[in-house]
């Protein structure tokens, strides 16, 4: 029997990046094949090639023994390949049936829609999935899990033989996950091949037959799920050589606790998170995507509300209900998404640097002293080495690294001494990365308190004096920085799900 999917020697280049380096992947009918790797390992890129969103630059792609090159998602669908994206792409205000048949609605004469046939065909698909769902229900009224079922039904309606699921359980609770697994097993029994991308180790053990691990755009290996211990899979995921010399963690002694967080909570996203950071310390906040790190940072900063929890700044309990409060308390937050949350990209460099400190430049009647703004901006342009033709250059024209420096300058000018960096090097090239690292170390050396959120373990290892690890909204542990901690240690904490820690009872 020929393989359902057989990808060998797949290469993919993006400008300046060799994203996939001779990667292989194969899938049998009736198999669940998990694809694992850290963020940026190339899983999504590989699957986008399979589903026709990207085209490969090298290698072969065979579907049932035939070499193919799908040029668009539509062509991939015709080859029987369906993909369910992490972010669902459904129209909330249309019904389930209308969503499933969007773009190919059954028609009557004169282009009138045939709603009856539409709903009947949808009901048929649901019946084949043994799914109890009303075709006429509005998608927006369904739970995320049910919406996911709709996505699956939509993929199946194209008679998909291959179904790619990108982190399907990210937004689901345990009961909903069980529901999803029932559907997956049924599809399996019918001979559909499933590619399952997930970070959740215990799920992989439950549902997948084989596991392929990728790292830095390269193929690491394929193992049989049932026979392989989780620790070995983790080792395969992080097994990159640590090129940097081990970090020298400074002894801060009894330096002041500049920020203490006690029992911070909000719904499921943040569950009883407590930690403290010393003056001059760099605390790494590690975890997989969706672990709740950004949520914690935004709650501390007052950008989002919190249910409960106390924040102490320099030993004093401080009420922070808005970013204005946080900035007054000397806390600055550098968002992972600079373009949306960090910069007014249409404005120039100096206005962005001054954005949090306009009061310093405002004279009588609210008149701004642009000369003074310009001088301050130029000081920071020089100090941080921001490469820009002038202080009136629009920031959208700067490179990612220089944009990040503009945001850093904004908070330095505001004289914030607690700085939270959320993915500080995302979208920044390698050279600029080490500059940002040096800058963060200098800031800590000057007595600033630095919190770094990063999904890249080497980055966390490279910078952090201590490492707090989160998983699904909980702080699962705090590790010392430096050579005593391995990437495996962090990954163990980052995958320590609440369900896995509790005894799974049978009581309903």
């Amino acid at each position: 029997m020929s393989k359902l999917v057989d990808m060998t020697g797949i290469d993919k280049f993006f400008p300046g990046v060799h994203a996939l380096k001779s990667v292989q992947f194969d899938l049998d009918p009736g198999e669940v094949h998990a694809l694992m790797g850290e963020n940026g390992a190339g899983k999504s890129t590989l699957m986008k090639i399979l589903s026709g969103i990207y085209q490969r630059d090298g290698g072969t792609l065979m579907i049932e023994g035939q070499e193919v090159s799908p040029k668009s998602p539509r062509e991939a669908q015709d080859l029987g390949i369906g993909i369910i994206h992490q972010e669902l792409s459904l129209m909330n205000d249309l019904t389930v049936a209308q969503n499933i048949f969007i773009g190919r609605e059954p028609r009557k004469s004169f282009g009138r829609l045939d709603e009856a046939t539409l709903n009947a065909q949808t009901a048929e698909i649901f019946a084949s999935m043994n799914l109890n769902l009303d075709p006429k229900a509005l998608v927006g009224s369904l739970t995320i899990a049910k919406q996911q079922m709709v996505e699956i039904a939509k993929a199946l309606s194209f008679r998909s033989k291959v179904l790619i699921m990108d982190e399907p359980t990210a937004a689901l609770n345990d009961a909903e996950i069980a529901e999803l697994f029932v559907i997956i097993r049924r599809l399996k029994a019918e001979g559909v091949g499933l590619v399952y991308i997930s970070h959740k180790m215990d799920e992989l053990k439950q549902i997948s037959d084989r596991v392929t691990v990728m790292r830095d755009g390269e193929y690491v290996g394929t193992v049989v799920a049932a026979e392989t211990p989780i620790s070995q899979i983790i080792a395969m995921m992080v097994g990159r050589e640590v090129k940097e010399e081990p970090l020298d963690v400074p002894d801060l002694g009894d330096a002041e606790m500049s920020l203490q967080v006690n029992g911070l909570s909000r719904g499921k996203e943040i569950q009883d998170v407590s930690f403290s950071v010393q003056k001059g310390e760099i605390l790494g906040l590690a975890g997989l995507m969706g672990a709740g790190r950004t949520e914690v940072a935004r709650a501390i900063f007052g950008a989002d509300p919190k249910d409960s929890g106390e924040i102490q700044v320099h030993g004093r309990v401080t009420s922070i209900t808005s970013p204005t409060d946080a900035v007054k308390a000397g806390i600055g937050y550098l968002s992972e998404d600079r373009k949306h949350f960090g910069l007014a990209t249409g404005m120039n460099v100096r206005d962005n640097i001054a954005l949090a400190s306009m009061d310093l430049f405002t004279g009588a009647g609210g008149v701004l002293n642009d000369g003074k703004i310009s001088n301050s901006a130029k000081t920071y342009i020089k100090q941080l080495g921001i490469r820009t033709p002038s202080d009136v250059q629009e920031v959208r024209l700067l490179s990612g690294g220089n944009q990040q420096k503009v945001v850093i300058a904004k908070w330095l000018l505001r004289d914030c001494d607690i700085l939270i960096f959320d993915e500080p090097t995302r979208g920044i090239d390698v050279g600029a990365k080490s500059e940002i690292y040096k800058l963060l170390e200098e800031l800590a050396g000057q007595g600033k308190t630095v919190i770094v959120i990063s999904s890249e373990l080497p980055e966390i290892m490279r910078l952090s004096h201590r490492i707090a690890v989160m998983c699904e909204g909980r702080l699962t542990g705090i590790l010392p920085g430096g050579k005593d901690t391995t990437q495996e240690d962090i990954m163990h904490l980052a995958t320590q799900r609440a369900a896995a820690m509790q005894v799974t009872g049978t009581v309903q």
């Binding site: 993006f14 400008p15 990046v17 900063f301 950008a303 808005s322 970013p323 204005t324 946080a326 900035v327 007054k328 937050y333 968002s335 949306h340 949350f341 960090g342 910069l343 007014a344 990209t345 249409g346 404005m347 120039n348 206005d351 954005l355 949090a356 306009m358 009061d359 430049f361 405002t362 009647g365 609210g366 008149v367 701004l368 642009d370 033709p389 002038s390 009136v392 250059q393 629009e394 959208r396 024209l397 700067l398 490179s399 990612g400 944009q403 904004k410 505001r414 979208g427 090239d429």
Partner: protein
């Protein structure tokens, strides 16, 4: 992946080729072309008296367009500028004619009423998070109704307030230079425009106006009280509508409560022709002035050429679409 680095390499000096300046130049060039075209087509067009008529016609719409510009730069829209103008005129009428208060108090009351209504719109938008289109649509209808209620649906005349009609129709410039009888209404338009330009360009309120339109969330995350500043901008725009209310009441020597609807669209049209982006973050008062002048010149010129009024409206509509299309095509090219 197109990164900012790529853009930087392609256009290292684009900071110098200021996009706003180009748009203003485009609008200004169109204005000149229109002026030349009409003066060739009709010898009556370039008469001083006709030029002054054009300026006079621009004054009210110009002031309203300045108010609309402020709100539009924040990324919002204000549909209530027209009926707010009328409401302020009616308030002036009540204070001056019905209550017999002194002239200055009437003017102050009209401007204060405008600022208060702007403050209400701003609060709806900033605090209650109602989309600006809806909030100001509601405000537009509320104010239209209130104007009719307060005035008892009848015009209020200012015959008992000597000098009120001189606010718009008199000419201080004409007294000094008799050959240049530019009406005070036009003078006030230019003063309002200069003040608004100064606020936008030189004050913290202005800087936040652009910043809000450019990226409101980034501004909020910088610790700025975005709600408060947004309310202030709407209030300032409302106060400027109050000035427009005084101007129109003075020109008609009466507060006409049924007037006002439709003025908001003309104001927004002037703003858009002047190159202010409806998505916010970009725009100039000078551009808006030119936009208002283009509309007045067009209306006047077509009338001088005896084109039917119905067709004047059609042409104005076409100009708006052309102006925005030209702006978008240029920006697409610039990336």
């Amino acid at each position: 992946m197109t990164t900012a680095t790529d853009i930087e390499k392609k256009k290292p000096l684009s900071g110098l080729a200021d996009s706003g300046a180009y748009q203003k130049f485009l609008a200004f060039a169109s204005l000149i072309v229109l002026l030349i075209g009409f003066s060739i087509a009709s010898p009556n067009f370039m008469q001083t008296s006709n030029m002054i008529a054009i300026l006079q016609a621009t004054s009210v719409n110009g002031v309203l367009a300045v108010a609309a510009t402020l709100v539009i730069i924040t990324g919002g829209i204000d549909l209530s500028v027209g009926t707010l103008m009328t409401f302020c005129a009616v308030i002036a009428g009540v204070v001056l004619t019905n209550l017999g208060m002194p002239l200055l108090l009437g003017v102050a009351a009209a401007i204060a009423a405008g600022a208060f209504c702007g403050l209400c719109s701003g609060t709806f938008v900033a605090k209650m998070k109602i989309p600006p289109f809806i909030a100001t649509l509601g405000m537009m209808l509320i104010l239209k109704g209130l104007s009719l209620v307060i005035s008892g649906t009848r015009p209020i005349y200012f015959n008992d307030t000597p000098g009120f009609d001189q606010i718009s129709r008199g000419s201080l410039i004409g007294e000094v230079f008799p050959s240049l009888p530019i009406p005070n209404g036009v003078l006030i338009l230019f003063l309002v425009a200069i003040a608004a330009s100064y606020i936008l360009g030189r004050t913290v309120l202005g800087r936040y106006t652009f910043a809000l339109g450019s990226n409101e969330e980034a501004v909020r995350l910088s610790g700025v009280n975005t709600d408060m500043w947004k309310i202030r901008i709407y209030a300032l725009a409302g106060a400027i509508c109050g000035i427009a209310g005084i101007l129109i009441a003075s020109r008609l020597n009466s507060a006409q409560p049924a007037l006002g609807l439709g003025y908001e669209l003309e104001a927004i049209a002037a703003v858009v022709i002047g190159g202010t982006s409806l998505s916010g973050g970009r725009g100039t008062i000078l551009g808006t002035l030119i936009g208002a002048l283009i509309m007045a010149v067009l209306t006047n010129g077509l009338r001088v050429l005896s084109v039917a009024q119905e067709w004047q409206t059609v042409v104005t509509g076409a100009i708006i679409i052309l102006a925005v299309y030209a702006d978008m095509a240029r920006r697409k090219k610039a990336g």
